[in-house]
């Protein structure tokens, strides 16, 4: 921590620069930008100072994660009793709750993210079914938690500029969604995860359905039913897995750590993996189950799109990494070569080509999400430490840059009520700040060096080339993925060229006002983060490397064990990593007795 005022000079300096940047004499914008810049530098200094290696004595408040989840949920409950007639009160209350959540979540960074679980909190929930309230973060999920607490307030703040009706429902949905999303990233009990996974659908459904565009009802139903279809199959597989665990150990458990001990026969594992993976692929979304995404995005209001793209899709990628790969390593490993092909051809290339052909710029951004998440999935399929780190970083990157893109699209939509590319041209002349921001975010999205996108995609592509999982396709996958980067540049730059530059031909665009205070304040942190990640990626990768390395070892070990296991009936396996099992439920009586009997036989 900075000890004296002198130590704070970079903070104050950057704050002053931030406050002096705007051309307009708007003190709110100046103060807001200065404050956010200063806070960001403070945050950076804190992160930078912190030793990455453990030094002992780091205090973890066990209820921190519970508080992070509970604050928005309780806030949502409390909001129901606030008067609908005073929207300002509702808005301030919501932003206050989200800001509190953000500040609280920054303390997650106060401890070094070593191997194993942090801020773990376990309570019995339904003992007779083995369901526990079990939350914890590691170096992987901590970034997604921070992404959530960081992006949601921005999206909410931006959306208050364009949505004027039914503020109470809007605020309630945001808070409920925030609680559910955070819960899904920190849940280590699969029941708890499933609850959060389903619960976050409802507010998003309401959000698309109420404040969406012309086809909103179709889009919202499609979104809900698609996702629910996948998740019920996951539930069936989950129930099967829990039943097997119960049969072997004599005590039920929905805990991820406990269920990771179960080694299923290879064939069964494949079936269960398909059920889990389908649920997550739909959520990601991966080709060919991506068709709900363009509809949902195009119809959703800006705030909804930002949250959907930046956070909710990450639940799919994160869930695939944590649960599908964690529980069924054999099936995930053997199928990943084929799946990587689908990710490259269907996600990266097809998504990019689709994006290229769109007339609607929001749809273009939506398809670009399919392409970007194709990279993330490719990294997860490759499953080398570098690729996994790159994927996690790319999840954050995509959240930042696509979130910013959707907000920028929202800016012009609020002014012109159209998103057709041909309607625009030469916007840089009337909206210079907007055009600058657009260009920066576009560069981030296509991965120009120095921005965040470059780091993530580079790590993924490097990791893919070295991946033993992809076998002989690793090379061709790498080449095609690299080609996808070029395609990304093609579609993003061509739309930039059409919209921002060229003659200002459409008279309707002549009087457009530039980015206003609210929009500027909302976009500024995202733009800054683009460069922070771009220039200092090690800030992020250093904290995730222990967790990724541990995951990699466990994944490979379990794969080898499964190879030997073959199609034998289910049995328990030993997990070598004690830090992973920290907090796992004790084995049931039957398992303990079996172990004792085995030990007794050994003694004889």
């Amino acid at each position: 921590m900075p000890s004296s005022l002198f130590d704070l000079w970079p903070v104050l300096g950057v704050g002053a620069i931030g406050a002096l940047i705007p051309t307009k004499k708007d003190w709110k914008l100046r103060a807001g930008l200065g404050l956010s810049a200063a806070l960001l530098v403070l945050f950076m200094l804190k992160v930078w100072d912190l030793p990455v290696t453990p030094e002992g004595g780091a205090k973890e408040w066990p209820n921190l994660l519970s508080a992070l989840i509970a604050i928005p949920l309780l806030g949502a409950g409390f909001l129901l009793f606030l008067p609908r007639q005073s929207p300002e009160l509702l808005k301030r209350f919501t932003l206050g709750v989200l800001a509190l959540d953000l500040l609280l979540s920054l303390t997650l960074l106060s401890v070094p993210m070593t191997k194993g679980w942090h801020f773990q909190s376990i309570h019995e929930w339904v003992p007779s079914l083995g369901i526990r309230y079990h939350v914890a973060v590691d170096g992987i999920s901590v970034w997604l938690v921070l992404l959530t607490t960081f992006v949601t307030p921005i999206a909410v703040f931006a959306s208050f500029g364009s949505i004027k009706t039914r503020i109470k429902e809007l605020c309630f949905s945001y808070l409920l969604m925030q609680g559910a999303m955070l819960c899904s990233f920190v849940a280590l009990d699969l029941f708890l995860f499933y609850v959060a996974f389903e619960l976050m659908l409802v507010p998003m459904y309401v959000m698309i359905g109420i404040w969406g565009g012309a086809e909103k009802i179709k889009a919202s139903l499609k979104f809900f039913l698609y996702t629910m279809f996948g998740s019920v199959l996951m539930l069936a597989a989950l129930l099967y897995l829990v039943w097997q665990y119960t049969r072997i150990t004599g005590a039920p458990s929905f805990d991820l750590l406990a269920l990771s001990r179960v080694m299923l026969p290879q064939k069964v594992q494949t079936v269960c993996f398909v059920a889990f993976a389908l649920a997550f692929f739909i959520k990601v979304p991966m080709f060919p189950v991506h068709t709900w995404l363009p509809d949902a995005h195009v119809q959703a209001p800006t705030g909804g799109s930002v949250i959907l793209a930046a956070i909710m899709l990450k639940v799919g990628t994160y869930g695939y990494l944590r649960f599908a790969m964690g529980l069924f390593p054999w099936a995930a490993g053997t199928m990943s070569a084929n799946l990587a092909g689908v990710a490259v051809l269907g996600g990266v290339l097809y998504g990019a080509l689709c994006a290229w052909k769109q007339d609607d710029v929001k749809k273009l951004v939506a398809y670009s999400s399919v392409a970007h998440l194709g990279y993330v999935m490719l990294g997860l399929f490759s499953a080398t430490p570098s690729a996994i780190s790159g994927s996690i970083l790319q999840m954050v990157n995509h959240g930042v840059s696509t979130g910013a893109l959707f907000m920028l699209v929202g800016v012009i939509y609020d002014r012109r009520h159209t998103r057709q590319v041909d309607e625009f041209g030469g916007l840089a002349k009337v909206m210079p700040v907007f055009a600058t921001l657009w260009l920066i975010v576009t560069f981030a999205s296509i991965g120009v060096p120095g921005t965040n996108g470059f780091v993530g995609e580079f790590m993924i592509i490097m990791g893919t080339y070295a991946s033993p999982r992809l076998g002989r396709f690793a090379g061709i996958d790498t080449v095609l993925a690299a080609f996808g980067v070029i395609l990304g540049a093609v579609y993003m730059l061509s739309v930039t060229q059409k919209m921002m530059f060229g003659p200002l031909s459409n008279p309707k665009n002549k009087r457009l006002s530039d980015v206003n205070t609210r929009e500027g304040l909302a976009l500024a942190p995202l733009v800054v983060l683009i460069f922070v990640i771009g220039f200092f990626p090690s800030l992020f990768t250093d904290r995730m490397k222990d967790a990724v390395a541990a995951f990699d070892v466990r994944y490979r070990d379990s794969f080898e064990l499964a190879k030997m296991h073959g199609n034998e009936p289910p049995e328990l396996i030993e997990i070598q990593d004690p830090s992973f099992l920290q907090g796992a439920p004790p084995l049931g009586k039957a398992a303990v007795e079996a172990a004792r009997a085995a030990a007794g036989e050994g003694a004889k």
Partner: protein, 497 residues
């Protein structure tokens, strides 16, 4: 003394019903809403039923097995934890439906006092049916329950309502006759009328006339199918439900169905519980599994095509019977866990359905009753509280966590997976996705559409009783979803041995 203690809920219902009937006969009610029959009778009858439920809870805590004299009326009336659990569920359902009626009847100009004694006596029938350990009491309970409901279905006295009551009466009597005939055949074959005795005779086997047994069993199964409205024996349900006043529909789809399942479980477990009847190859599970699949798939598909919310909810209640049947099918393999899943599901279903129908009642006022989807357009803006309540209970019915309905589904399908019926669980889960579609469609109309200009709009009513029923159901739904542990343990302990 112990006998009276064990039968206290039953006696309370009987005495309370008689008392209310006399009060109704001798009191003079005026047309004014404040002094009408509902204003004076609804609360006492709801309290009577709630008191019976609380007494049942007391019995539960004391454990009927430890009460001397509780077995005095066996085999006619069996007072065990199973009975006590169903007493709680049906009395809770009855009490909440009565509260809804207290607001609904005066609002829609149906304020006649006989409603309340009828519903209490019908609930009495439900309890007797759940407690019946003999074919005679079983039939007695069934008819006591049904006769009250036949009358209540036609309570509106409009042609639609009378048609519904007539249909229900004819098909219900038909089903009862089948059940009776099946019972007669069983008696002829085994010489017993008590369920345990029949079960023992069947287990011992010996020289039993096999064709008669098969025929008897088929008849009994059809009778049960009618009562729980399983496809293809569901034809009466949508018409009867739609024609009945909404609180009666709530009562029918909740208490009557629960009692039907109580009868089904008790008969199947005590009489046909022998492994040779419960095996997949030669027993009843495959038949019930087929019924469950048909019920879940067909009812959910048809419900999605309805234009009236009330009719949709009628089909949805049929679909829920399908999910419960999945639990019943698993009973032979996983025993008390599967029974517990049925009991828990029925409890969660009871409060969710009462809540959804209560919200529907709340949304309509005199001459402007909410029944079709169009009526609900824009309710989210005009009456946010009712719309919120409706969404809450519909999401519970759709099985969205962390509400009670989700936990019920999870528990039932867990039982199916534990019994090895994976395909049954998968079909059930997939059909619940279809179910989500039509529940969400209600939300679409409430929040995302505005009513067409000039179209009839439902106007919300004011009634403290409806709101209190909704609040009670809402608390129970949340309690079942967030803290299901206690009620799950109760349900496990309640299984028929």
């Amino acid at each position: 003394m112990g006998t009276i203690l064990a039968l206290a809920p039953l006696l309370l219902l009987a005495l309370g019903g008689c008392g209310l009937m006399l009060t109704e006969a001798y009191a003079s009610f005026t047309k004014a809403r404040e002094e009408g029959a509902s204003a004076q009778l609804a609360l006492p009858s709801a309290v009577t039923m709630l008191a019976a439920a609380v007494m049942a809870l007391g019995l539960w805590l004391k454990d009927p097995a430890t009460i001397d004299g509780a077995k005095a009326l066996e085999p006619w009336l069996v007072v065990d934890r199973f009975t006590v659990f169903f007493t709680m569920v049906t009395c809770l359902g009855g009490a909440l439906a009565t509260l809804l009626a207290g607001g609904y009847l005066p609002e829609h100009n149906l304020d006649r006092g006989e409603f309340y004694p009828l519903i209490i006596f019908s609930t009495l029938g439900c309890v007797v049916l759940a407690a019946a350990g003999d074919l005679l009491t079983l039939f007695l309970g069934l008819e006591t329950m049904s006769l009250g409901v036949y009358a209540l279905t036609g309570f509106r006295r409009s042609s639609r309502s009378v048609e519904a009551a007539m249909k229900y009466f004819l098909l219900g009597s038909f089903a009862a006759a089948l059940l009776l005939y099946g019972g007669a055949l069983l008696y002829g074959a085994t010489g017993h009328t008590d369920l345990v005795g029949i079960g023992q005779a069947l287990t011992k086997g010996g020289r039993l006339p096999y064709p008669a047994l098969v025929f008897a069993f088929a008849l009994i199964l059809v009778g049960i199918g009618f009562k729980v409205s399983a496809v293809p024996f569901h034809m009466w349900a949508p018409d009867a439900y739609e024609g009945a006043p909404t609180p009666v529909m709530a009562y029918m789809s909740v208490a009557v169905k629960s009692a039907g399942f109580a009868m089904a479980l008790r008969v199947l477990v005590t009489t046909f519980g022998d492994p040779k009847f419960g095996s997949w190859a030669t027993g009843w599970p495959p038949i019930l599994a087929l019924l469950a699949v048909l019920t879940m798939v067909i009812a959910n598909l048809v419900a999605g095509r309805q234009e009236s919310v009330k009719r949709m909810l009628a089909y949805s209640s049929i679909a829920h019977a399908g999910y419960v049947l999945v639990g019943v099918v698993s009973v032979m393999k996983v025993g008390s866990e599967a029974q517990a899943s049925v009991l828990f599901y029925l409890l969660a279903y009871t409060v969710s359905t009462i809540g959804a129908l209560g919200a529907l009642v709340w949304m309509g006022s005199r001459g402007k009753e909410a029944t079709s989807y169009e009526d609900l357009a824009g309710v989210g803006r005009r009456h946010p509280a009712a719309a919120f309540a409706m969404s809450f209970f519909l999401l519970s019915l759709a099985g969205v966590p962390p509400l009670g309905g989700f936990f019920g589904k999870l528990y039932v399908f867990r039982a199916a997976v534990g019994a090895g019926f994976y395909w049954l669980a998968v079909i059930g889960l997939l059909s619940s996705v279809i179910g989500a579609y039509y529940y969400l469609r209600v939300m679409v109309y409430m929040y995302m559409r505005e009513s067409a200009p000039g179209a009839p709009e439902a106007e919300p009513m004011r009634s403290g009783m409806v709101v209190s029923a909704l609040v009670i159901s809402g608390i129970v739904v949340l309690w079942l979803g967030l803290m299901p542990g206690a009620s799950l343990e109760m349900a496990i302990a309640a299984a028929v041995k």
